[in-house]
């Protein structure tokens, strides 16, 4: 029911306030970018990044008044004392060997890690509540995240943003994956709602569910961290990066040739930039144009940037959407000179594979193969996150490089505890130059309590991806952003001492011994019957004795008998 307001409010105004209202513009900026990279394998990698930078102190009270920053997320971050938050929701597996490195690596399924502020009291509880709130925000099953499937790895994860104190204390970190999570439209829609332009204007209009979910790989990301406001770093800003990574297979799109265009990939042209964005750019990696199949871009790019990074040269065509005078729909098309030519695949320096070994349902093993193609030795950190129901044995850990066993530089192992914590193994290794290193571990198959089996238990149980972290000395195949940068632009000509990569391996699925679930009820019924049947005779034998009967009968039987005889007599009489 609506009531139109009649009240005149003139009496309510407080005069002393008016002088203090001075208009200050909100200090927040929004950038939208799209990177398109044709891969040598004939796939096209599309990476969207929406960056919101907000010049505000990273405090709970700051998040009460939001402008471009999504309020729904701000409330959660403020309430749960979050220092840094990373979420990725992924379907499919990123193939490092053929596709190189993505900007953000993500494990198949859902992955969540967060750093809490040092003032947080009960981190395990806050972590569970945070995951619960995020599951509501993004429609993900993060409500299943708790201490029993969370780790706080010591070496693999460092805060990506600025930290107040020098020493990193990993007890404020929580990391969890849900490898079984299936990512779909119901995650994309709430994710898009966090953007200031929603999906109404700008690059986000290209994100149509129908054209995203037919890709080989798609990954939604949300990365929040505090960053420096300026070069002196005396003040903090809040940075929120929302990312979408897509890998299109042109064969699946079924056009018979290798040509691609924005309209073909996303099903729609671009109608313009988001009016709230300070920067709205599309970058197309045209390095492959020179080494692999030759293609022509239409319209001709207004600018071409050459970027040298870690000794690796690449070229980008840049379209500034804001500067373009778009009338109607804007489209960028790549037309290849020949129908289908694949480039030579130069695999990246470091990549990994993982698989299960063993047979039967007794003993199993996990083998992870790390490929180091560099001419030098590489230091890597290997993080294994094994659920508690897969008992792992540290003494079976074997690291073999090119047929020779090597000793790890560092080992951290916390055995899992049933229903309380997962198995945590972190190993620092030096991979010899041009080597394949095998890390193998053995585990047992166990029975679970019957209520702990998921629905469709015969489908199998997932083991989350291992994370391999390394600082690469060369920038080949590397697309990641530098730590001091926020946008894709900042990755051009950003040569640094090392390039941080975090590879996620395949997730594994194992079949656990699965009982017949109707068994408990059958057992109850059967035992009850057996006990009841056995008890009667036992009781009789122990408390009674067979004895000759007295002629004198029980009066009840006598009464029955007399009745019977009387009725039979009556019948006889009648007959």
């Amino acid at each position: 029911m609506m009531v139109v307001l009649h009240t005149i409010f003139s009496g309510l105004l407080c005069l002393q306030c008016i002088s203090s209202v001075i208009c200050t513009p909100q200090k927040d900026y929004f950038d939208e970018e799209l990177l398109l990279k044709p891969l040598p394998s004939g796939h096209v990698y599309a990476y969207f990044q929406f960056t919101t930078l907000w010049d505000v102190d990273f405090e709970a009270t700051s998040f009460q008044h939001c402008h471009l920053f999504p309020r729904a997320l701000g409330e959660i971050v403020g309430r749960y004392n979050v220092q840094e938050l990373h979420i990725s929701l992924t379907e499919g597996l990123w193939r490092h060997e053929t596709w190189g490195y993505p900007v953000h690596d993500a494990a198949p399924g859902a992955e969540l890690w967060a750093w809490f502020k040092e003032s947080t009291k009960n981190i395990d509880k806050t972590w569970k509540e945070l995951a619960g709130a995020l599951s509501g925000l993004l429609c993900v099953s993060f409500n299943f995240v708790d201490a029993s499937n969370s780790l706080n790895p010591e070496f693999t994860f460092r805060p990506a943003g600025i930290v107040s104190s020098g020493a990193v204390n990993s007890s404020y970190l929580r990391y969890s994956t849900l490898p079984r999570e299936i990512v779909c439209t119901e995650n994309l829609t709430p994710w898009k709602k966090l953007l200031p332009c929603d999906a109404k204007k700008g690059l986000s209009t290209l994100l149509n569910a129908g054209h995203i979910h037919n890709t080989n790989y798609h990954s939604l990301g949300l990365h929040l961290r505090p960053v420096c406001r300026d070069t002196t770093c005396s003040q903090m800003s809040v940075e929120l990066r929302q990312t979408v990574s897509l890998v299109y297979d042109m064969v699946i799109l079924g056009t018979g040739n290798q040509d691609w265009s924005i309209k073909k990939l996303f099903g729609i042209g671009l109608s313009g930039a988001c009016p709230l964005a300070t920067m709205s750019n599309i970058y197309i990696d045209i390095a492959l144009n020179e080494t692999g199949a030759h293609f022509q871009l239409t319209p001709t790019p207004p600018a071409v940037i050459t970027s040298t990074r870690g000794g690796h040269k690449s070229k980008f065509a840049v379209y500034d959407i804001k500067a373009l005078d778009i009338d109607g729909m804007f489209n960028i098309a790549a037309v290849y000179s020949s129908s289908r030519v694949y480039g030579v695949n130069i695999p990246p320096v470091l990549f990994a594979n993982r698989y299960i070994i063993g047979y039967g349902q007794e003993r199993g093993g996990i083998v992870t193969k790390l490929h180091n193609g560099h001419w030098q030795a590489l230091d890597v950190v290997y993080l294994e996150n094994i659920p508690w129901f897969i008992p792992l044995y540290l003494h079976t850990l074997k690291i073999v490089a090119n047929g020779k066993e090597i000793k790890p530089l560092l080992k951290r192992f916390i055995p899992g505890k049933a229903r309380a914590r997962p198995y945590y193994l972190e190993v620092a290794l030096r991979l010899p130059a041009r080597s394949i290193t095998e890390i193998s571990l053995e585990f047992d198959y166990v029975f679970l309590k019957w209520q702990e089996y998921p629905p469709d238990a015969n489908h199998g149980f997932y083991i989350g991806a291992a994370v391999i972290t390394s600082l690469l000395p060369v920038g080949r195949n590397y697309t990641g952003l530098p730590q001091d940068g926020s946008t894709i632009t900042s990755s051009f000509n950003a040569s640094r001492d090392g390039y941080l990569v975090q590879l996620r391996t395949e997730t594994l699925i194992i079949t656990m011994p699965t009982p017949d679930f109707s068994m408990p009820y059958n057992v109850i019924c059967l035992t009850c019957t057996v006990i009841a049947l056995a008890f009667g005779p036992l009781h009789n034998i122990t408390t009674k004795r067979l004895r000759l009967k007295n002629k004198e009968q029980n009066y009840v039987i006598r009464w029955f008998k007399s009745k019977l005889t009387r009725s039979s007599e009556m019948k006889e009489k009648q007959s």
Binding site: V21, Q64, H65, C66, E75, F535, T543
Partner: protein
């Protein structure tokens, strides 16, 4: 069938048989002891639903709980005789009140007290103002006509000023419909206890439900940011305008104020273009009153919180783009709203203000797009304040001829308004706590599977104590303490009723229990119970035998 033999023949064979019989009987006794003496209580104890003993009789007695509001009203007049007469008249008028127990006191007033008074504001600052919440002072000001045309003037604190010619009837009318609002209070309670019979009154329907904390969310909607850029410091405006009122209301509940900006959110309704026929040809867009409810739905999806469980008051400023401005709300009769305020209130939800950008900016073609515009903070926040007062439960007062009130200038809430609000909330919370406790006790009687653990039990006890205590405090006129007690009662009762531990065993229905117990217990218990008969016969026989032996 076993028949007990008489064992009094005394032969050796008989003795042997008697020994054997004794063993068997001991075995039977052992079975009976294990199963009936140990087993049954053990089973009862282990499968019993844990339930703390609760004050059922006290909860039932809450029905007849006497809730009356005691209140002191002082009447100050220059002429003590007139004061006495007013007291007697008012006492007579309010004698029939079912809810209030008013105590009228005549206070002598010195002429010099009013000597230095030159304006109503001076009266406000006089020292005779009652301090205690819930009290009232009716003060005769002989020359009230110097300041106002009204005969009665309600002050900003707990005082009502009246002129010398005011009658007791007039005063009672002011007390009844402005300061005490008894009718509204009674209707509130009646509507809560019997919702099918009585409806809430207008103010009760608008008022937010009681809670310990409220969220207040201000949302600015700018549908076309590429055409209009708003230059507005929203956090500062909220701080300046809403905080003072919330500060004054902070005794009632806690408040969390949030704000956000929404872009590209449209109203989803098509306003009609209207050209004024009378001369000026002023063109504007009209939004009919009937379609206002449709505006809220598209906004709703951006207003939810994933963290807070408090009820949220939504305040929305919609700033139409220049092409669709000015946009006005039209009433059903085809007229614009009185006073030209384009705003509406949705009861228990919040308010929406349509703020049109100034035509100076819109029609100035020399300004490039996006056009900069600074909204009128005072106008928007003023409407929000008025709406917030209604939503928090401060009603619009019925007009009474020649009765006025001092305008709000230095404060945003009159103290007597706050007292009236305290009264409504106290009664609301008391009634709600009472009803919650009663339905809980009824539910416990009907469903035997509900667990009541110690924590829930103690919050039920606390709620009952607080309800009783609050009623006592109300009777003695300690309004603020009564309010706190009733709030505690309300929160405890709600916490007890909604505690998840209540449902722990609810999924385990009785028929399932019997499905397991009967196949096991029935075949086991029948032989044991039947054996009781032979045990009894044997014991009885032995006793007879022994007594016989003694007699022999």
């Amino acid at each position: 069938m076993i028949l007990k033999e008489e064992t009094s023949d005394g032969s050796t064979k008989g003795e042997d048989a008697e020994d054997n019989d004794a063993y068997r009987i001991f075995a039977a006794i052992a079975y009976a002891v294990v199963l009936i003496v140990i087993g049954l209580p053990l089973w009862w104890k282990t499968t019993d639903v844990y339930r703390v003993s609760l004050p059922y009789s006290r909860i039932a007695a809450l029905d007849s709980l006497d809730v009356t509001l005691g209140m002191n009203i002082s009447i100050s007049t220059i002429d003590p005789a007139r004061g006495g007469r007013l007291v007697a008249d008012l006492k007579d008028i309010f004698k029939t009140s079912k809810l209030f127990q008013l105590t009228f006191l005549a206070l002598p007033l010195e002429k010099k007290d009013l000597a230095s008074v030159h304006s109503p504001e001076d009266l406000e600052n006089a020292s005779l103002q009652p301090r205690k919440p819930g009290e009232l002072l009716l003060l005769e000001v002989p020359g009230l006509s110097r300041f106002t045309a009204n005969h009665v003037l309600a002050g900003l604190k707990r005082t009502v000023y009246f002129s010398s010619e005011t009658t007791a009837v007039k005063l009672s009318e002011v007390l009844e419909s402005w300061l005490l609002q008894e009718k509204s209070l009674r209707q509130t309670v009646a509507a809560m206890t019997a919702p099918t019979e009585t409806d809430q009154d207008r103010s009760g329907r608008r008022r937010m439900p009681t809670a310990a904390e409220y969220d207040i969310m201000i949302t600015v909607v700018n549908p076309e940011p590429e055409k209009l850029h708003l230059n507005w410091d929203l956090p500062q405006a909220v701080q300046d305008y809403l905080e003072p009122l919330l500060q004054e209301l902070s005794l009632l509940a806690a408040y969390a104020v949030k704000s956000q900006w929404l872009y590209f959110v449209t109203l989803n309704v098509q306003p009609k273009l209207v050209t004024e026929t009378s001369g000026s040809g002023y063109q504007h867009y009209a939004l009919a009153e009937d379609i206002l409810p449709q505006i809220i739905t598209p906004l709703e999806k951006k207003l939810a919180s994933h963290v807070s469980r408090n009820p949220c008051l939504n305040f929305i400023v919609y700033i139409p783009p220049c092409e669709a401005a000015p946009l006005h709300i039209y009433r059903r009769q085809g007229m614009r709203v009185k006073g030209g305020v384009d705003a509406f209130l949705s009861p228990r939800w919040g308010g929406i203000v349509i703020h049109n950008p100034s035509s100076l900016i819109c029609h100035n073609t020399s300004v490039p797009e996006p056009k900069e515009y600074s909204p009128d903070t005072a106008a928007i926040m003023g409407i929000f304040l008025a709406q917030l007062r209604l939503l928090m439960g401060i009603p619009e007062l019925k007009e009474i001829s020649r009765v006025g009130q001092l305008p709000l200038s230095t404060v945003s809430l009159r103290q007597w308004e706050f007292d009236a609000l305290l009264r409504v909330r106290t009664l609301e919370q008391l009634t709600s706590a009472k009803l919650t406790l009663q339905s809980l006790s009824q539910l416990l009687g009907e469903i035997s599977n509900i667990v009541i653990n110690d924590a829930v039990g103690s919050s039920i006890y606390r709620a009952v104590n607080c309800v009783e205590h609050a009623a006592d405090l109300l009777k003695t006129g300690q309004l603020d303490q009564a309010f706190n007690e009733s709030k505690e009662a309300f929160l405890s009762a709600e916490a007890a009723f909604t505690d998840p531990s209540l449902l722990a065993l609810l999924y385990f229905p009785d028929d399932q229990k019997y499905a397991v117990y009967i196949p096991l217990f029935l075949p086991v218990m029948i032989p044991v119970i039947l054996s009781l008969k032979s045990i009894h016969a044997w014991l009885f026989g032995r006793m007879n035998f022994k007594t016989k032996l003694k007699e022999d």
